[in-house]
Structures are given as C-alpha cells and as structure tokens.
C-alpha cells in the first residue's frame, strides 16, 4: 500500500501542481506575453528588480539561517522563528524611538541610534529564542516529533500576541496616526535621512545616469548581511564551539561521548539564530519601512522555503535559498502581482518537497557514514 503511494502519488501531485500553476497562474499575474513585453520594453527594470531581490534576499537568507541551524541540530522546524524576527523589528523601532533617533536630524545621533538598535534587537531576539527553546522544546526533545512541532506553533502564536501588545504601546512604538496594535506601523526611513542631513543623495547611483536606484538602504542591507554570513561561516567552520555544533548535528550521541555539553550547544544554536533574526529585524525595518505584528508570518514562510530550497540543515544552502527566494519575490512583486507573491513562494516550497526534498545543495542532517 505504502509503495503504491510512493509510486503514484508523486507524479499525480506534480501534475496537479503544474496544472494549477497554468490554470491559476494568469490570475496570479503569471502572464508570459505581458511579462516578456515588459522586460523588452525596459531591460533596466530587470536589473532594478535584481537589486531589490538581492537586498530582500539577504534579509530572507539571514532569517533562513535560524531555521536551518535549528533544524540541523534538533530536527525541529522552529515555527516561532519568523515571529522572533518580528519582535526584532519592534525592538529596533522601540530602541530608535527611546534613544530619540527618530526625531533627531543629527547624523551622528542617527548612526549611534541605529547601532544601538542593532545591538539591542540582537540581544533581545537571541534571549527570546533561547528562552523559547528552554521553555517549550527542551523537555520535548525525546518526545514524538509532532509534540515539539505543535509546541513550536503554539510558541509562534504566543510571540505574535506579544508583538500585538507591544505594537499597541504608544510610548514604545510611535503611532504616526495609526491606532491600536493591529495596524501596520511606519518604520521611518532613517538611512535616507542620514544621507539627506549630510547633503548627499540617498540614491547612490543617481549621478551616474544609469537610471537605476541603488540606495544607501540596499547597500547597508547587503553589506551587513554579508558580514553576518561570513562571520557565521567562520564561526561554524573554525571555532571550537562551531565544530561542537557541527559534531552535535552530525551525531548527537557521539558528540556526548566527546564530552560536548549538548544542552549548551543547542542553546547557543538558538542564541545565534535569534541574534541573526534580530539583525534581520533591524535591516528589514530600515529597508521596508514597516512594522507589523503579523509580518513574521510572510517572512517566516519565505525564509523557511529558502532553507528547504537550499537543503534544510545546510548553512550555505540557506544563504543561496534566501537570495533565490528574494529574487523570486522581487520578480513577482515587480512583474506579476505583489498580492500573489506568497503563492509563488508556496508553490516553490511544494515543488521542492515533491521533486527534490533534499534541496539544491542537499540536506545535512544526522549521520550518513
């Protein structure tokens, strides 16, 4: 019976998905003649969407790292991770508000405020993520997989509601005219403000006559994300603790026999994943200029898809997947219809799970020797 499903379900589902894509695709903006026409009309726009995609992809990649590292080490999809990132956005916004960076025009004050927001957001999200593991996952480590998964979904709801309450506190989150915690809040475009206060153009390519927008925001996001990714890779590859993390991911019992304190290594994995989510929160806030209690959902789906696309548990894969999903989302937002972008991301997720569950670079979980 089982082998029957194995044999026939995959092609049937695949045909169904392809059929749906072509049936529903045009509704969701997948209209090839129109897209091709628009690209021919203005090839420059393609480069423009590439830039947007790279910047958004960098943010997705940073969030995806948190999913993939945690999955690599305890084989759990930490559903709360996207929401931890949302808390990062609000922490950054509140830090900027409390330090007065939102209202100043002094560039030094602005830069210091942003640095403070980065540090505070990373610390808060790292602690939150460690707390979630300690509270909700650790005691379920030897329980059936489903129990931990449900617990993760529960944590996601809890963190979302914390975000909702947080967003309603006007002394922490400036309302800019919106009311209540449910509304989308504005996250001021401080980077452009810095440039303007220095009498510089936020659009770094403005004077080149290329007609492309490459702003200080794009630059910051791509540079900061690259630094974080390179730093993480170095940590995992070369430090004693990084090696202990890899060892734990590859064979937990053997790692115990080496004298590795598994609980500590897992906590540190959550710490790093949370810290990265916090940094992504600041970047996304400055880049997209919104803060919303539910924004962790979309980001979470994109990042999770990125992690699966690259090969869950595979750090390099998460980075690659992040950029690809960022590009897909930018392309969909730009050429198709932004309202349907989530559908395309979902479609990619389903297609990978059907055709290549191990992702582009291969899953890296457990022992294979």
């Amino acid at each position: 019976m089982k082998s029957f499903f194995r044999r026939f379900m995959r092609p049937i589902i695949a045909i169904l998905v392809i059929y749906l894509v072509f049936l529903l695709g045009p509704i969701a903006g997948l209209d090839f003649p129109i897209i091709v026409g628009r690209i021919q009309e203005s090839p420059k726009m393609l480069v423009q969407f590439l830039i947007i995609g790279l910047a958004n992809g960098a943010i997705v990649a940073i969030i995806a790292l948190g999913y993939t590292m945690v999955y690599g080490i305890i084989e759990l999809i930490n559903f709360a991770h996207g929401d931890v990132y949302m808390i990062g956005v609000f922490t950054a916004l509140s830090t900027l508000s409390v330090t007065g960076a939102l209202t100043t025009n002094n560039p030094v004050h602005l830069v210091l405020g942003i640095v403070a927001a980065l540090v505070v957001a990373m610390i808060v999200c790292a602690s939150l993520n460690v707390g979630i593991e300690r509270l909700a996952y650790r005691r379920l480590r030897n329980a059936p997989r489903l129990a931990a998964l449900i617990s993760a979904i529960g944590m996601s709801f809890i963190v979302e509601n914390i975000g909702l309450i947080w967003a309603a506190q006007s002394w922490l989150v400036p309302s800019f005219g919106t009311t209540g915690g449910g509304a989308q809040k504005s996250f001021p475009d401080l980077l452009s403000k810095i440039m303007i206060s220095l009498n510089l153009d936020p659009n770094l390519l403005a004077s080149t006559g290329l007609g492309l927008r490459f702003t200080i925001k794009d630059l910051l996001v791509i540079v900061l994300a690259s630094i974080l990714m390179i730093g993480l890779r170095f940590f995992i590859q070369n430090t004693r603790l990084g090696k202990a993390m890899r060892a734990t991911a590859q064979n937990r019992d053997a790692a115990k026999m080496m004298g590795i304190n598994i609980d500590r290594v897992i906590s540190i994995t959550f710490l790093i994943g949370g810290g990265l989510a916090g940094a992504a929160g600041l970047m996304a806030g400055l880049y997209n200029n919104t803060a919303w209690w539910f924004m962790g959902f979309r980001a979470g789906i994109q990042a999770f898809t990125a992690a699966v696309l690259g090969g869950i548990g595979n750090i390099t894969g998460a980075m690659l997947g992040g950029f690809l999903i960022g590009l897909l989302a930018a392309f969909s937002d730009g050429y198709m219809d932004a309202r349907w972008t989530n559908l395309w991301v979902f479609a990619v997720l389903v297609l990978i799970l059907i055709f290549r569950p191990t992702g582009l670079l291969g899953e890296q979980v457990g022992e294979k020797a």
Binding site: Q250, D253, A254, K256, M257, E367
Partner: protein, 235 residues
C-alpha cells in the same frame, strides 16, 4: 578503578541490564564477551551516561558517575570508541580527532597526542584532510579509536573494534590495544570475537541476556567448557 554495582538499565519496558556488577582495575585489559543482544553496548553506553541506569551505581575511583551528565563523565577520564564507529561523517579526520580532545585545554598535550595517534595509525595522517564519511570501514575504525585516544583517557571503552574488519586489520587493531594498555591506558573491551578478546585481556566477563553469568581470568575462561562451546566455536 571502575566499578559497576547491580546496574539495571531499561529501554522503555525492555530490561536490558539486569543487575550487572563488575570491576576494572587500573592498568588492566578487561573484556566483556557475549552474543548479539546480550547488552554489551548498553553497558558501555550506561557507563558513559548516554543511558541512565534505573538502579545501581557506577563508581570511578569511588566517585559515583550515574547521575552525572555525559560531558562530566568524559572530563573524569573516560572515553569510548562506540559500536558502529559513529565518527562525524562531514568533518575531516583532523576535526574528528580534535573533537576527541574537546574537554582538554592543554595545547601541548593535545599536540603530543596527535603524534601518538599518528604513530599508531599512520594511515590517518595521510588522510588528515579527508572527510570522515569517505574513509573505508577499517580507516573509520582507526579514526574512532584514535578519537578516543585524543581524550587521553584513564580508561577507554572499546565496543567491538574488530567489527567488519579483515583478519589482518583485526590483528593490527588488537596489537594497538595491547600497546595502548602498555602505555598506561586501562581498557574495557567489548567483543563478539571472544577468541581475540580473551587472547589479549587479563580478565573477562561473560554477559548473557543482561546478566553476568561468569567471570574469571582469560586463561581460565578459555578453558571453560561452556565458554568454549558457546563463544569459541569449539565442538
């Protein structure tokens, strides 16, 4: 040095160790022989804190181990080359060996022990940058033993180091074990290859379905008719 007193270990409802008592003295090679499913690996995993005994106590130099987390047990000087080798497949030989020395801080001592391992297993030195998972079975076994050596343990637990190896390699591995012991490492060796194990061990225990049914010096065990019949394949 190491003492187990009435140790009981369970897997859920399965009673795998039914009150095992044994001792290993400093400088000895002690072997535990037994057929498949006797509980040999369970015993080593219980000593190492990977499994928790439900009853009984495990003493190292008189200090109870059974409540300590495994990383603390490793710090007390116990290392293991586990059944199935359990090397880290996507880490290099070098990194695998580094993991063996994880609890140590003495850089000079670690460097010395790298030399010690490479002297006994020159093959590992040739393959130092190769991923563990791409080594041959025999090389992986060498790596598992080398990794256990890197902890510079007072007592080393070896779980079926002969498994899956050619007779020549088995001979080499056992020579290595004797050599290790001469250099001061106490050895607790679990084996199905009873003939080889008894040829190098000072004393032996026979484990059957979770119980020690016999223990004596190796020489006497080799003469025992039951051991000969069940474990040495005599007829």
């Amino acid at each position: 040095m190491l003492e187990l007193i009435e140790v009981h270990t369970y897997y859920g409802n399965i009673h795998a160790l039914k009150g095992v008592s044994m001792t290993v003295a400093e400088g000895e090679i002690v072997t535990v022989i037994g057929s498949n499913g006797a509980g040999k690996s369970t015993m080593l995993r219980t000593i190492h804190g990977i499994l928790r005994p439900k009853k009984g106590t495990i003493l190292l130099e008189g200090e109870a181990l059974e409540k300590l987390p495994s990383h603390k047990i490793v710090e007390r000087g116990i290392s293991q080359s586990p059944e199935g080798r359990m090397i880290f497949p996507r880490m290099t030989v070098q990194e695998n060996l580094e993991m063996g020395a994880y609890t140590r801080k003495d850089k000079a001592g670690i460097a010395q022990d790298f030399e010690w391992v490479f002297k006994l297993f020159p093959r590992l030195k040739e393959r130092i940058n190769q991923k563990g998972g791409t080594l041959s079975g025999g090389e992986q076994q060498m790596l598992a033993i080398g990794r256990a050596m890197m902890a510079h343990p007072r007592i080393m637990l070896l779980d079926e180091p002969s498994m899956g190896l050619s007779p020549i390699l088995v001979g080499q591995i056992f020579e290595t074990i004797v050599e290790l012991n001469k250099q001061g490492t106490t050895i607790l060796l679990v084996e199905q290859n009873a003939r080889m194990a008894l040829s190098i061990a000072h004393r032996g225990y026979v484990l059957q379905t979770g119980e020690i049914i016999l223990h004596d010096t190796s020489a006497k065990l080799k003469e025992d008719p039951m051991v000969q019949k069940s474990y040495l394949g005599a007829n």
